[in-house]
């Protein structure tokens, strides 16, 4: 019995953390906002193997499982990475789609990173189909988080059928939910870090804002939600990796808890930042807006609660 990351998984997560700290600071996210996406963070993640964790060694991948990848995706959330790591590495790779940046409509009709993606995983009545960039029309859509580069995708060309197996498609969806939950935990963690830093240094009434009990309790609440959401994501990755019976339920549980944590932390972070947080000059909004988008895609919190209710025979 052993719950949590071992040395190998911790090492991979730390490697991603260092790369992202260096190559994906807030300025890079801001650049993506202004339509100048920097390709380097993606390149370094590809080089470290983040996108091929689930690709068999026989096909040049690392041949590892979701318990290695999810912590890396959490780091991508922490950095608000403006590229589709979840869809590329967690959803598409196991379907045999490798070597390209993949966007998908499985999480919702507005396809995130559609504007910069190289390949498109589209869900159709017949099943999942893959289209190359030149096979689709993309209508960009302005969303609150500009770094999401959303668009509506309409296939033009024939595309390639990937799978019409319901269970394969269901598993692909669960993987997308899992990755989104991991990103939300990372985002919540980042918003909390930013806020703790701010309230410690910001003084009003001659004392640090963080010394007021109301501020302490807002942030304690955020830490509470985060502390109990994170293990649920860790478990969901394990359940999916090992094909456990409760894999789908664990994924919904993780998404719901992570959504809660991000919502509570986001509100607390904004409130404790005060007016400075209510501008685009502070970095907080980069993470806050990402969390709003993720909390309502790949299934709403309510829809995941309903999945859990059904699994409990309610």
């Amino acid at each position: 019995m052993r719950f949590g990351l071992d040395d190998d998984r911790t090492a991979m997560r730390d490697a991603a953390r260092e790369l992202l700290a260096r190559w994906c600071p807030p300025d890079v996210v801001r650049a993506a906002w202004e339509g100048r996406p920097d390709p380097r963070p993606w390149q370094v993640l590809v080089e470290m193997g983040a996108t091929s964790v689930l690709v068999p060694e026989s096909r040049g991948g690392l041949g590892l499982d979701e318990t290695f990848l999810t912590p890396v995706i959490e780091e991508a959330g922490w950095a608000a990475l403006p590229q589709p790591l979840t869809t590329t590495a967690l959803v598409a790779a196991p379907l045999g789609v490798t070597d390209s940046m993949v966007a998908t409509d499985m999480g919702g009709p507005l396809v995130p990173q559609a504007v910069i993606a190289e390949a498109f995983l589209i869900s159709e009545d017949a099943g999942l189909r893959l289209y190359q960039r030149e096979e689709v029309d993309i209508e960009p859509v302005v969303t609150v988080d500009r770094a999401r580069h959303c668009g509506r995708v309409r296939p033009r060309g024939p595309g390639t059928p990937l799978s019409d197996d319901r269970s394969v498609i269901a598993l692909a969806f669960d993987r997308g939910v899992l990755g989104t939950a991991a990103e939300l935990v990372g985002l919540a963690h980042r918003m909390l870090d930013l806020t703790v830093g701010y309230v410690t240094e910001r003084h009003q009434f001659g004392r640090p804002v963080g010394s007021f009990q109301a501020v302490k309790h807002h942030l304690a609440r955020a830490q509470l939600e985060l502390s109990f959401a994170a293990p649920a994501v860790t478990y969901a990755a394990y359940a999916v990796a090992n094909g456990l019976r409760d894999a789908s339920r664990s994924v919904s549980t993780a998404k719901w808890l992570a959504g809660q944590a991000a919502a509570v932390t986001g509100r607390a972070a904004l409130q404790c930042h005060g007016a400075i947080g209510y501008t685009t000059e502070a970095d907080l909004h980069l993470f806050l807006k990402r969390s709003w988008a993720l909390s309502r895609t790949w299934g709403s919190s309510d829809s995941h609660a309903d999945r859990v209710a059904a699994s409990l025979g309610l």
Binding site: V144, Q204, F205, G274, Y278, T279, R296, S300
Partner: protein
């Protein structure tokens, strides 16, 4: 207890409703149909056209005396105006900072000359007033302002840095607090000054709110000479070094304290309509009903408050309760709408924009944490 409107009030409402319907249509044609946010430069000028139209119709400040451009309306007429205005889908009021914050101070402590010089032009949206309270180091702790005003021959010399000035980049005048007694601390030694923004040495830099609109500005004062007569009736509101008492008196004035439920009522109704359009499950319908009930409670509590005020009573600390209520309610209403929109909620649109705007509610005009302290200490009498 009598919740019926009298004939004059009904007539007022009917005339207003008719006027709004016609003029909103005309104004929308005038601006080419696309209504922009009043917190952008273009949108602001669109809305100035509207504000001036409102003034020509005599509707910009219904509760002010006629001589200043109002209708001598009571708080009841003001309530009716707000109900009808938001019901009709009127745009945000970009002149509100002057009307809601400076005007009450002028009514309470301004000189007749100041009122005559400032109020009519404010009502006509000729002079556009923004607020100069906050500074980088003085947010919740307003008494720690450091911007200075040095008395000199025929006026004042201003130095310092104000920020979070709503729509400051689009306004013509600023009212604010400056430390006039260099040796003073905290609430003492501050003077409430009225400042045209076109004086030499003033630099205004607009910056973006959460939603990206340039709704804020910081204002830098570098050896700015403010002549005593830069504003008719004089640039000092109240007494020199007594600015804090002006702010307190203003904060305590009915008009400054009241906030009309009309806007939230209109939002709740749009939410009900949205639910019809997107469809909703029982859980969501219950949540909408709950938010609607809170909106109704706000309407009723306001009727109670206005009754108290018109009977010569006063509110005061209870205003903090109202602020807590509407700011939390506004967020709840918009979150519900976003949940109804689901995966498309992230699109730029009236609800996602409204949500971001609503999130400012618990922060500005005294954070909700400070409002809760006020309720606990001044309404419940808990020890400081």
């Amino acid at each position: 207890m009598d919740l019926t409107w009298n004939q004059e009030q009904e007539a007022f409402r009917a005339e207003l409703r008719e006027w709004l319907e016609r003029n909103l249509t005309e104004w929308r044609q005038q601006i080419g149909g696309v209504e922009l946010s009043g917190d952008t430069r273009e949108g602001f000028s669109q809305q100035l056209l509207w504000e001036r139209r409102l003034h020509e119709g005599g509707w910009s400040v219904v509760s002010w005396p006629r001589r200043y451009g109002g209708r001598n309306g009571s708080l009841w007429e003001w309530l009716i105006f707000e109900e009808e205005y938001w019901q009709a889908g009127g745009p945000q009021r970009v002149t509100q900072n002057g009307i809601q914050i400076l005007a009450p101070a002028l009514f309470e402590l301004g000189s007749p000359e100041q009122r005559d010089a400032i109020l009519p032009r404010m009502a006509a949206a000729v002079d556009l007033w923004c607020q100069g309270w906050s500074e980088p180091g003085a947010g919740s702790d307003l008494a720690s302002v450091t911007s200075r005003a040095r008395a000199t021959d025929g006026g004042w010399v201003l130095n310092g840095h104000k920020t979070w000035t709503t729509r400051g980049a689009f306004c013509s005048h600023l009212f604010g607090l400056f430390r006039s007694d260099p040796d003073s601390e905290r609430h003492r030694g501050l003077t409430y000054l009225l400042v045209p923004l076109d004086l030499d040495g003033i630099t205004v830099r607009g910056f973006s709110r959460l939603d990206g609109d340039e709704g804020f500005a910081e204002v830098f004062f570098d050896e700015v000479f403010l002549p005593c007569d830069a504003v008719g009736g004089g640039v000092v509101l109240g007494e020199v070094d007594q600015g804090w008492s002006v702010v307190v008196a203003t904060a305590g004035s009915e008009r400054g304290l009241l906030r009309s439920p009309g806007r939230y009522r209109a939002t709740a109704e749009s939410l009900v309509a949205l639910s019809g359009a997107t469809g909703s499950d029982r859980w969501q319908r219950r949540r909408i009903a709950r938010a609607w009930m809170k909106t109704e409670a706000f309407r009723l509590q306001t009727l109670q408050t206005v009754t108290t005020l018109t009977a010569g009573g006063s509110i005061g600390a209870e205003a903090s309760l109202t602020k807590l209520w509407w700011s939390e309610l506004d967020i709840e209403l918009h979150e519900l709408a976003l949940d109804l929109l689901g995966p498309e909620a992230e699109m730029e649109g009236v609800w996602s924009k409204g949500y971001q705007f609503a999130l400012a509610g618990p922060i500005y005009a005294g954070t909700n944490e400070i409002q809760r302290n006020i309720v606990a200490e001044r309404v419940l009498g808990l020890p400081r």
